[in-house]
């Protein structure tokens, strides 16, 4: 860690690079705020981060290259900001022309001067006294015009004035007392604020809904689990659909060319598949929705009758004009919780399977049907009621919700993977009690493969050939954080239990730089630019499932210390000049 004097020097040098700051911040208010339009969302300026993954296609890529594989070794902190709360800080710091908006656990949004770290305003949503939080986190605020949108864990969608931090409207989406909650960053398309609901462990029925950005009124709602008389309804038994899961808790991606929003869906509920026989559409799927009216225009189910808690929640990365076996396709790429790297393609008829290949040890599928991509499940490794069943990867999967990224320069996908970790589940009949956890199984039985020396792997894959190009293995730690890739041939990721923030060479996988932060990093890194200087920002704040894995690792032969310190801090880095 550099000293304060050095930090100040970096900030000073950065300040000198631009003569006029792009934003003026009065005490408690942003002056000259740049409204976020559809045109800007579809073609964001290189220096801004206006969407969950910066661009609608979900690349998690910034074209900025001032910080690059040559000089990243000189990366240093410019400023930090303590959020004041514990638990998992997972949101990307959103940046709009010099103003940063940071969402934290417990319904907090902080507006900061992105260059100096000075506080502009702080919004705090009052959460109900009796709220229970299975996942106390937020994955960010969405932007539209001069508003921000927060999906809170008490299942309220809230519009905030980006300039002042004042609440503009507050809409109850569903009832938190029934285990319905939200953690995702909303997706905004043409003034429609789309959200999905969490609660797959409480027996909810998943949905995506759109709200009017100006009024907060619901425009449409599409359930991810159909009623019996709807298409796909025959893939459920009896009333199972009423509490069938399929929650939606990670931001969708969007293809403006087709006007289609793609959303990943969660596990079927409860966990053991024999308790909800059938394929269980549209759980563990990608669904394609028209954002104007919510109509489903396509889908692909990655695996049927989910029994492993493998939410396929992360929306696919969209790669237009990808070469694949001599063809040019508009690809949908999904490194999945089920441990397969799925490549699909968008066609006029909908979504079609292209290829699937495991990227971690996987014993639940014997293979996949070549035409449809339907997994051929090994019943010996499919959890069921009344019997201990082991399977790999664990319920956290080959890659959980943290996002992979795609670099259009290297044409590689960077996957934060977890390998060598398996699970044993024993299904048990549990009566659904509203507001109580409903797993249908005895959980918390993850184990390491004997002899394993690592779990976390940063993997680089060529989606056009489905071949791994490089892998970096992290000894004795999970890797539980999203990746950022940049035009500087870099990949940034936190996610390890040693509190490190890492930078890798995007082409070779060489570790070029790392620095220990205050806590473990679950946050999504971003790149932005103010007054001609490129910065990298990330929240450090450990908790939620990263901590649950740590608790599990503490019980293994690795005997790790379960105490990874908590407490959120926003970190902003730049290269010393």
């Amino acid at each position: 860690m550099i000293g304060l004097r050095q930090t100040a020097k970096v900030a000073f040098a950065a300040a000198l690079l631009g003569s006029v700051s792009m934003v003026a911040a009065l005490a408690g208010e942003v002056d000259n705020y740049s409204p976020v339009t559809q045109q800007r969302l579809e073609n964001p300026e290189p220096g801004n981060w206006l969407l969950y993954r910066r661009t609608y296609d979900g690349h998690g890529y910034s074209p900025l290259n001032q910080i690059n594989s040559t000089n990243v070794k000189n990366l240093e902190p410019v400023w930090t900001f303590a959020t004041g709360v514990n638990e998992g800080h997972e949101a990307p710091p959103m940046v709009n022309n010099g103003v940063m908006f940071v969402a934290t656990p417990y319904g907090q949004v902080i507006a900061l001067n992105a260059k100096t770290g000075d506080l502009i305003w702080r919004y705090k949503h009052t959460l109900p006294e009796d709220l229970f939080q299975l996942h106390p986190t937020s994955r960010g605020v969405a932007m539209w015009q001069d508003k921000l949108f927060l999906a809170a864990t008490d299942d309220h969608l809230i519009a905030i004035d980006a300039k002042t931090g004042k609440e503009l409207w507050n809409t109850k989406v569903q009832d938190y007392k029934k285990g319905q909650y939200m953690t995702l960053e909303p997706l905004v398309v043409n003034g429609k604020v789309m959200v999905g609901g969490s609660g797959g462990e409480y027996g909810v029925r998943g949905y995506v809904a759109a709200y009017d950005a100006d009024t907060g009124k619901e425009i449409w709602r599409t359930f991810t689990v159909p009623e019996p008389n709807q298409p796909g309804g025959n893939t459920w038994r009896g009333d199972d659909w009423k509490h069938g899961g399929g929650s939606v808790w990670i931001t969708g991606t969007y293809d403006p060319k087709r006007n289609i929003a793609y959303w990943g869906t969660g596990n079927a509920a409860p966990w053991p598949g024999d308790q909800h026989p059938g394929d269980n559409l549209y759980t563990t799927s990608v669904i394609a929705l028209n954002p104007d009216n919510g109509k489903m225009v396509g889908y692909h189910q990655y695996h049927q009758n989910d029994s492993w808690d493998w939410d396929e929640i992360d929306a696919p990365i969209l790669i237009h004009d990808m070469s694949e076996n001599g063809q040019t396709i508009d690809a949908l790429v999904h490194p999945a919780r089920d441990g397969y790297l799925w490549v699909l393609k968008q066609t006029p008829a909908g979504i079609e399977f292209v290829s699937g290949k495991p990227f971690v040890g996987q014993n639940a599928f014997k293979g996949i049907e070549p035409e449809t991509g339907r997994p051929i499940v090994d019943p010996e490794h499919k959890p069921t009621t009344g019997k201990d069943v082991s399977f790999c990867p664990s319920l956290w999967g080959g890659k959980d919700w943290p996002s992979a990224s795609y670099n259009p320069e290297t044409k590689l996908v960077y996957i934060p993977a977890n390998n060598n970790m398996c699970e044993t589940l024993k299904g048990e009949k549990q009566k659904l009690v509203v507001g109580q956890l409903w797993l249908g199984a005895d959980a918390d039985h993850a184990k390491l493969i004997p002899g394993a020396d690592h779990i976390g792997e940063l993997q680089a894959w060529d989606p056009a050939t489905s071949k791994q190009v490089w892998v970096h293995k992290f000894p004795k730690t999970q890797l539980f954080a999203s990746t950022l890739t940049t035009g500087g041939d870099l990949v940034f990721v936190g996610g390890t239990n040693d509190r490190m923030f890492h930078a890798f060479d995007a082409k070779t996988g060489d570790l070029l730089w790392q620095m220990k932060t205050n806590s473990g990093i679950m946050g999504m890194p971003v790149a932005f630019e103010v007054d001609g200087t490129e910065y990298i920002a990330v929240q450090s704040g450990w908790g939620v499932d990263a901590q649950r894995i740590q608790d599990m690792l503490a019980k293994t032969d690795w005997k790790l210390n379960p105490d990874v310190p908590q407490g959120g801090v926003v970190w902003v880095f730049a290269v010393k000049h």
């Binding site: 417990y106 709220l131 299975l134 106390p136 608790d551």
Partner: protein, 204 residues
């Protein structure tokens, strides 16, 4: 937040058989379904929000015996705990206005309890807040081999024989204890919650 009551691997749950609480329809042969309303006529009656009061009785919160008084013969020593609500002595006010009022009732061998815990017990019955002090999930799990209460959300574990101290997982402090007494074979609240119900409010 540190957890100074975290214990070593010997006391952490590694391979237990966990069970859900008895409120899910288990048999309670000695429970008495007494006449009278278990719920106030006025759903907005503020007394429903009040924490359990001295003199309140306890009733099953769910399952086949929902609304029935919990009496001395309801549980055997070591049985799975049950979820309960408090009801005023007239049984007109059920204090179910907030889930923060949910109570766990368990019956254990008094000789295994420490002195402080024993002072809250009645005929081996113990009552605790059912709200986990970590993230306020309902503590619905039971590890019979170790007689440990278990929260399924984030794997916090509490020892009911020792004032529900934390013996595993992320919970920062024990469950709040609710002193009991036995009156005419019925479980009655003998004191207010000892300790805070639920989690600490995050401060900034």
């Amino acid at each position: 937040m540190s957890n100074d009551r975290r214990t070593d691997d010997k006391t952490c749950c590694c391979d237990p058989v966990r069970r859900s609480l008895l409120q899910l329809g288990a048999v309670a042969t000695a429970a008495a379904l007494l006449p009278g309303k278990a719920r106030a006529d006025d759903e907005d009656d503020p007394r429903r929000m009040e924490r359990p009061q001295v003199g309140d009785f306890l009733v099953y919160a769910g399952g086949d015996q929902e609304g029935a008084l919990i009496i001395e013969g309801a549980l055997n020593v070591g049985d799975e705990p049950v979820l309960a609500w408090a009801t005023d002595p007239s049984r007109k006010i059920l204090r179910d206005g907030t889930r923060l009022n949910q109570i766990l009732v368990v019956r254990l061998d008094p000789s295994t309890m420490d002195a402080e815990t024993k002072s809250h017990a009645a005929a081996g019955f113990l009552a605790y807040s059912a709200i986990c002090t970590h993230m306020q999930c309902t503590v619905t799990g039971w590890i019979p081999e170790k007689q440990i209460l278990h929260c399924p959300c984030h794997q916090s574990e509490y020892d009911p024989r020792h004032d529900a101290k934390v013996v595993g997982g992320p919970a920062p402090r024990p469950l709040a204890a609710l002193p009991l007494r036995m009156v005419d074979g019925k479980l009655q609240v003998a004191g207010e919650f000892i300790g805070k119900v639920g989690m600490n409010k995050q401060t900034m």
